[in-house]
Symmetry: C2
Amino acid sequence: MGKVLPNTAVKAEDVAMEGSLHVKVRWLITKEMGANNFAMRLFEVEPEGYSPLHKHAWEHEVFILAGNGNLFDGEKETLFKAGDAVFVPPNEMHQFVNGGKTLLRFLCLIPHLKE
Amino acid sequence: MGKVLPNTAVKAEDVAMEGSLHVKVRWLITKEMGANNFAMRLFEVEPEGYSPLHKHAWEHEVFILAGNGNLFDGEKETLFKAGDAVFVPPNEMHQFVNGGKTLLRFLCLIPHLKE
């Protein structure tokens, strides 16, 4: 049987990555749950907060649930708002910045790492 | 550079699968866009509508954006509401039913088919 869980049933953990500020993450759907291909995480970024500006070999598939902000690639900002989908290809610099005055909440899905 | 697009910028197509009623889908993030591992779709189900009761070899990772309804496995219903995450493992019977009076909107992500 499928599993249904309120997102708030999963603990919001501090993201303590260097270069990030005021970011928490809830791992909603994981490999441990039997999801063999990709993971669903919900990020919460307070006003003035941001994820690290970085890149890596895997893509992000993002959906903005609440708030607004911008995607920064090191040079250019692209605005986003609730209801937008965001795709970040592999190996591209990216940073999610809360550009608003309310909590920014977004889903960010990633393939499991192939190591 | 990453791509940002309002979900409404993608056309909502009728889902004409046998056993479904009043369902539309927007393919937000696709292989054609460069997403090599999985796809993000947004489904919209009108009141009294439902997806087909079926199973297949791939999993679903779902997030309920608006409305409420239930996940039916052929025997048992599990209620869900906006803000819930839903995981349907591979090869399990499932049907998404709008059990409310408003539009049910949810994201449903799937791995690309390995054929």
